[in-house]
Symmetry: C2
Subunit: 397 residues, 2 copies
């Protein structure tokens, strides 16, 4: 078992706060300061333009992509960093649709993060070729995989409920009828034991500011399976995805391999913090993280259910079917979460009634969970939910 | 006249280096450290997720956009930050083509930066509607503006020669036949006195890591003119461009105003360095910067032409027709630039034969120019260009 007491000491955690929102924004790794200072002074300051070669900036998107690859079961040199998750969704989807030219349906579910759906809508409008975004309920996805489907585009773990899709089974079903898959790992990378190779996933995308702790707005990543990468046309065909950027050709020719999914100049300062965050991930095994996170989640569920009968569990109890967060439904969830935050338990609220708590063993331990349970119980018992003050605050503004 | 001796002290400039490559990557502003420390510790570290509201992260793209707007003659709340320049080109072009549905030609020139052309090629392929990217020589652009043109897409200042297009005249000509304009300000923002409002530009895009000194991979910006912004469909329609992101609707509805051009989560750490860089811009007037940069360029041209007859000026002499860089053609330019860099004069080389030198008064003064001229002259005189050693190094690798 990895020593999580060691990793906890590697984060800056605000005093008096039990931070159960690492699924939204991970906390500051203490190593970020030194990495950032180095990049600012020893690289940017001293090398200026020559940093692109001397400090290896130009290769950072694939170097860091390889660090992420290890955490999501991807082979080396098949993950590259850049841009934001939404843009990586767009790249994956545009490529996938072209690989299935005879089909018109993008299948997704109502548990997908809205931005993925928005990007798909934007792409469909641009293409003007009659593609349809079909959004079903999460539990109806499997049955909806028909041979009209070009791409199954899902977020593995529901951002509200924490429900986890069966990536292996859904990918196999999609492949059985000739569809491709795009898996959004926003709530998976660093949270659960993802194995893209085992699942035969075609495309995967994710962000690094949640469980991976890369910092606010940290860059995204994209994975393309080996069998597709040299056929996938990068719709966002930028300079650094060109096979010979410094030839300054007027015509685009994609690089071989995952480099073609690069677009513009990579965000070097953001990579400094992300590198520090990934140093912590090098100390642990994903299997240990997953086992511990389930244990913490179970402890929280048991504690809350024993003391707060107004809260209804929204997350599946089954370990196989959940991610690394635990959510409860509560009519006055918005006001309740505000009250919890005031009392030092920081989770978050997602409309219409979800109170969401993230558990990540890297910096949350049993004592934190016990204390969080006690505070939640006290706040929930003490609050007068019929009081107009709380009802007023129940509105999302 | 602004006091440029004051601004020069606000940068970290490597000892023994005359840095004439700020047109590729600006140097480190000394204030970046304090801003970054603040964002790392006082914001990310202490506020964690609440930084999105308490530290104003969520509004940073428009707040910083307004700082840039002042430098490029744009009205308030019409510039927003995010992503990379290539992606902003894609957004502008996709929007512009939809605003001119009956036309099929995107007109650009061979002086445009290749990435802009690549993004256009990628978009055309995705659309599959028979659009044509027509690339003419820079001097042929005006004559090529016909009523088939949907969009005139140009980089105002040529990245190799420093030749400046007449934005006002070309925009007026484009408008006269019903075409829209997209101006790439990569080598303009912070370099010349851009006035988007006066020029009636429709769209403009730019990066912040060159003359603006925002750091390697600093975020890009996009401007959309007031008359278009509420009609421009953001093809890259992400979560933070939605009119109500936190309603988590399943359907995209664009925000009013420039916010619709936002896509994903903004890069907060990169903004810290950029904010520090923009503090320096608050101390000067763009008119003073422009006047001084032309003076420095003239001084360099005169010095080189007096002493280095093997170098041929590639930059227009006319002040109206050039940006803030000076370029010379030389057959062995690659090897010569390597030799110059070894002797402390850092410019850069662009294929096939351009030696490029950027002049920015914020940190380059007359003494630097005089010294640079002396070193260039000495290196050029001393080097044996017929020597096989140099000929070998003349190849771009």
């Amino acid at each position: 078992m990895s020593d999580f007491s060691a990793t906890k000491k590697m984060f800056s955690l605000p005093a008096g706060m039990i931070y159960l929102d690492g699924n939204s924004l991970g906390p500051l790794p203490l190593g970020a300061q030194a990495k950032m200072d180095h990049v600012l002074h020893n690289e940017w300051g001293e090398m200026v333009i020559t940093g692109w070669n001397r400090a290896g900036w130009i290769d950072a998107p694939t170097r860091i992509g390889n660090r992420i690859a290890k955490l999501i079961g991807a082979p080396e040199n098949h993950v590259v960093m850049g841009d934001t998750l939404s843009l990586k969704v767009y790249q994956a989807l545009a490529s996938a649709l072209e690989l299935r030219p005879g089909r018109r349906v993008i299948l997704s579910d109502s548990g997908n993060f809205p931005s993925d759906l928005y990007m798909a809508q934007g792409l469909i409008n641009s293409l003007g070729k009659g593609h349809e975004l079909k959004v079903v309920k999460p539990e109806e996805v499997e049955a909806a995989i028909s041979n009209e489907v070009a791409v199954l585009m899902l977020t593995e773990i529901d951002y509200r409920t924490g429900r986890r899709h069966d990536m292996d089974a859904l990918t196999a079903k999609a492949h059985s009828i000739g569809a491709l898959t795009i898996w959004d790992l926003a709530h998976s990378a660093g949270a659960v034991d993802v194995d893209l190779s085992r699942a035969n996933a075609d495309f995967a995308v994710g962000c690094t500011y949640k469980y991976l702790n890369g910092g606010p707005g940290a860059p995204a990543f994209i994975y393309v399976a080996p069998e597709h990468i040299d056929h996938a046309r990068p719709a966002l065909s930028g300079w650094l995805g060109h096979t010979a950027p410094f030839a300054f050709d007027l015509d685009y020719r994609p690089a071989s391999g995952i480099d073609r999914m690069r677009v513009g100049t990579p965000p070097i300062l953001a990579f400094a913090a992300l590198d520090a965050a990934l140093d912590i991930w090098d100390m642990v095994s994903m299997a240990d993280v997953r086992a511990k996170s389930l244990e913490l989640g179970d402890r929280f569920i048991a504690g809350i259910e024993a003391q707060c009968d107004m809260l209804t569990l929204a997350t599946p109890r089954d370990h196989e079917k959940r991610g690394s967060q635990v959510s409860f439904r509560f009519e006055h969830g918005y006001a309740a979460m505000q009250a919890l935050i005031e009392h030092g338990v920081v989770g978050d609220f997602r409309a219409p009634d979800i109170m969401r708590f993230g558990f990540t063993p890297l910096f949350i331990d049993e004592d934190d969970v016990n204390e969080a349970v006690a505070i939640v119980a006290e706040v929930m018992r003490g609050a007068l939910w019929d009081n107009p003050r709380f009802q007023k605050r129940s509105k999302v503004t």
